[in-house]
């Protein structure tokens, strides 16, 4: 039996004005387990707490009930107070007789009656409380960043600068991601590679950063502070230590001249050899052999690259390698791509080489791109005179089969950027932008768009384009409606640029599954709280950076990357993690291993184990649920889902809640 002390607070007159405090004390004094009851003006004050400590010592109290304000206000205070007196802090319950009683009721008798009932419920609960202890788990002081674009690079640099070890896993042969493909960045129009390349080099040279390029995460196990990750280092077919990055192999590769392999980096606007670096500033500057296309790997003949390599770095025998590394935290920065445009046949993207996506336009305008920065049509290599931009291609679609329901967020701004850059270089180009809405929230963003209209005379027309019709003379006819002027338009164009919707990198669903990180219908990773925990996944120890979490531009990505890094640093700075003691617990004698609880657990905290149990004198092996206390957040979803009643939640056990119900309904 517990020895319970009940303390009723007046809260000045906040409680005492409506609740007869003395009467409450009198009535709860004879509740089962209560050995002491008293009231005081301000329970939370120094003197009030002193009173509690004295009573604990004098009466040997094993449980406390404080009738006062909301536990959200002072539960912590009273728990600390109990701990000071040597009592387990989880032996304290608070009956909320202010917010939920005295403040909302006027009738003194009614309020007093309710206060007594609330106190009784708390007393009944404390009778069943057990001392709980916060668990501890160690922290591996190394972070993993999945994805080597600007989001991953920034996160890794920030963590590494704080003195922690970081590994980046990037599936492409080089880091740099989407940003390395861009020409200039809005709204300041600085050159993308001028600001990105130094960061890429810094990553490569940072003593705290290890790069795994051309590598993929294969398997993840463990939990916050203690992840075990298998990384597959795909065979590069080039010896990292020997290669000097001279590029001789790429120049001599016979396939480079035949030109049948479209360059992924140049979005298929140019071809590449089978042994290649994606782009000149690639980090690391070590080529890979694309084994699917390489003649040597297909037929066993050729071998030119191995013969001419001055440092004998080409190694056809190289195999995939799997390394297992321990991490304390994982950041997902897997980025985005644009959607496939096959479903938008009306825009003739597959029919005409002069209908291109915005990202292809970035390559066409880039000095290091396939045309050396000279804007030309892919069909006849002539400079386009009339250019039409179509916004929202696949964004803001209602039907799943056609596109994405969300706004891609970056298109309005980059289209204004493209329009101005083209006008800067070739002022007599006519540019028309067909838009549904122009969305430019952000610092200096709307000014940027207005500049396109006012200074560069870019023609903005409200109305989505219906069809792009390739014409016999090689031009394109754009059929649209000007909704504000109420006219259907047929406009001739030499080039049409589509602002295709962004979508999370297709591989992210597989990664999210490995991490048990939640992901939404659009394959964006879900944050722990949309407003208050925007860079954390609900799964402890997993953090989000960049487009993987939602559409965002470079400045936003960089700020989120920094925020994710801070969260990681905050985690790695701890030697041990304190875990919430109000966790689920499985009664192995009742569990039948049905997996219902594991299916509802949002944290992947439940695993199954075969254990030996003694049941009625029989020893048998059973598959039973086990709760990983470091992962469990104490939501209790498993407890109500469990069909056999094996799962229970400490601090809010089935018996505790039932006894509260009983006390209220007495």
């Amino acid at each position: 039996m517990q020895k319970i002390g009940v303390f009723v607070c007046h809260c000045g007159t906040n409680i005492a004005a409506t609740v007869d405090v003395k009467k409450v004390v009198e009535l709860v004094r004879y509740e089962p387990g209560v050995v002491f009851a008293d009231d005081y003006m301000y329970m939370c004050s120094e003197a009030g707490q002193e009173k509690i400590i004295e009573a604990i010592k004098e009466y040997g109290l094993t449980g406390l009930v404080i009738c006062s304000c909301s536990p959200r206000m002072h539960e912590k205070t009273f728990r600390a107070c109990a701990e000071k007196a040597g009592l387990n802090p989880y032996m304290v319950e608070v009956a909320n007789i202010r917010e939920q009683c005295s403040w909302i009721h006027k009738d003194r008798e009614e309020a007093t009656k309710k206060a007594v009932i609330l106190a009784r419920a708390a007393i009944a609960k404390v009778n069943l409380n057990t001392p709980l202890k916060e668990g501890e788990s160690p922290v591996t002081k190394r972070a993993l960043v999945i994805g080597g674009g600007i989001a991953g690079i920034q996160t890794a640099l920030d963590i590494a600068d704080a003195g922690y070890q970081v590994d980046i896993v990037e599936k492409e042969p080089s880091i740099g991601g989407r940003m390395s493909q861009f020409d200039k960045t809005f709204p300041t129009l600085d050159c993308a590679s001028c600001i990105l390349t130094p960061k890429m080099v810094e990553v490569n040279q940072h003593p705290n950063i290890t790069l795994y390029t051309y590598s993929e995460v294969e398997k993840v196990s463990g939990y916050v502070g203690n992840f075990d990750v298998d990384i597959r280092k795909k065979a590069r077919s080039v010896d990292f230590d020997k290669c000097t990055g001279c590029g001789e192999c790429s120049t001599k590769c016979p396939l480079g001249k035949i030109g049948k392999i479209p360059s992924e980096f140049d979005r298929g606007l140019k071809n590449r050899p089978a042994i290649y670096m994606p782009f000149a500033q690639a980090v690391p500057a070590v080529p890979v052999i694309d084994r699917e296309n390489c003649t040597y790997f297909k037929t066993g003949k050729c071998g030119v690259c191995a013969k001419i390599c001055p440092s004998k770095a080409v190694d056809y025998e190289q195999k995939d390698e799997i390394v297992t590394v321990k991490y304390g935290a994982i950041v997902v920065a897997t980025g985005f791509d644009i959607i496939n445009l096959d479903k938008f046949g009306e825009y003739a993207y597959n029919e005409s080489p002069d209908v291109i996506t915005s990202i292809e336009l970035e390559r066409l305008m880039n000095a290091a791109g396939p045309t050396g920065g000279h804007l030309e049509r892919m069909s006849d290599h002539k400079q386009p005179k009339d250019i039409v931009f179509i916004q929202c291609v696949g964004s803001r679609c209602d039907s799943e089969e056609k596109g994405k329901p969300y706004c891609s967020k970056v298109c309005c701004m980059y289209t204004a950027k493209h329009a101005m850059l083209i006008k800067d270089h070739w002022p007599d180009t006519n540019i028309t932008v067909f838009y549904i809405d122009v969305r430019t929230p952000g610092k200096n963003f709307d000014e940027f768009y207005r500049r396109a209209v006012e200074q560069y005379h870019v023609n903005y027309i409200k109305g989505q384009v219906g069809k792009v019709k390739p014409q016999p003379d090689g031009s394109l006819m754009v059929q649209a409606a000007d909704l504000l002027d109420g006219k259907q338009i047929n406009m001739k164009a030499d080039m049409v640029v589509l602002a295709a919707a962004v979508e999370p990198n297709p591989g992210v669903r597989k990664i999210a599954t490995m991490l048990t990180a939640s992901i939404d219908n659009n394959n964006f990773l879900t944050e722990a709280h949309a407003k208050l925990r925007p860079v954390e996944s609900p799964t402890a120890g997993i953090f989000l950076s960049g487009m993987a979490q939602g559409p965002k531009d470079i400045p936003e990505t960089v700020s989120q990357a920094g925020a994710a890094a801070v969260k990681v640093i905050g985690l790695l700075a701890k030697d041990k993690l304190k875990t919430n003691p109000c966790t689920a617990q499985c009664d192995t004698l009742l569990c039948n291993g049905c997996s219902t609880c594991a299916n509802v657990c949002p944290y992947g905290a439940i695993t199954y184990d075969d254990v030996q149990v003694m049941d009625h004198g029989l020893r048998e092996t059973r598959r039973v649920a086990q709760v990983n206390l470091a992962l469990c957040q104490g939501c209790g979803a498993c407890t109500s889902a469990c069909p056999s009643g094996a799962m229970d939640l400490q601090g809010f056990s089935n018996r505790q809640i039932t006894t509260e119900v009983d006390a209220i309904c007495r």
Partner: protein, 148 residues
């Protein structure tokens, strides 16, 4: 206290399960905004609406409660991501079974209430009390041995 009181007008007994993160905080806000609702409502704090085991509700009715309301975070706002979705589905099923055995649908309710919706909390409780008041005493599931 109750024994020697004269028989007054019927007051219902209502149990409210509130999740710690949204609706319990909403109830606190109703309190600090002094938005009153009948004292018939007694709140039990649970970590999440997904923690509410159907057994708790049956127990409440058995012990003489006239109405039970479960409050959770709005869809998409659950502190634990998905608990309220499970609660919604579980309760829909439970309530239809309760109705089948004669506990009217009006006696049970699931409501979403955020930490900022003190007014909504108070309004909901007022409505719910009125509803239970009109339905009268719950005689269907109550265990007569529990009555005094």
């Amino acid at each position: 206290m109750s024994m020697n009181e004269e028989k007054k007008e019927y007051r219902p007994l209502i149990v409210a399960f509130c999740c710690n993160w949204c609706s319990y905080a909403g109830a606190d806000l109703a309190g600090s905004s002094r938005l009153s609702y009948p004292a018939d409502v007694k709140i039990i704090r649970v970590p999440c609406s997904g923690r509410v085991n159907p057994m708790f509700i049956l127990r409440a009715f058995e012990r003489g409660a006239d109405g039970v309301i479960i409050c959770g975070c709005h869809p998409g706002d659950c502190h634990y991501s998905t608990g309220n979705y499970y609660a919604r589905r579980r309760m829909a099923l439970l309530f239809s079974m309760l109705e089948y055995i004669g506990v009217e649908n009006g006696r049970t309710r699931v409501e979403w209430c955020s930490a900022a919706e003190g007014a909504k909390f108070s309004k909901t409780m007022n409505e719910f009390c009125e509803k239970i008041q009109s339905l009268g005493e719950n005689v269907r599931l109550g265990d007569l041995r529990c009555k005094n």
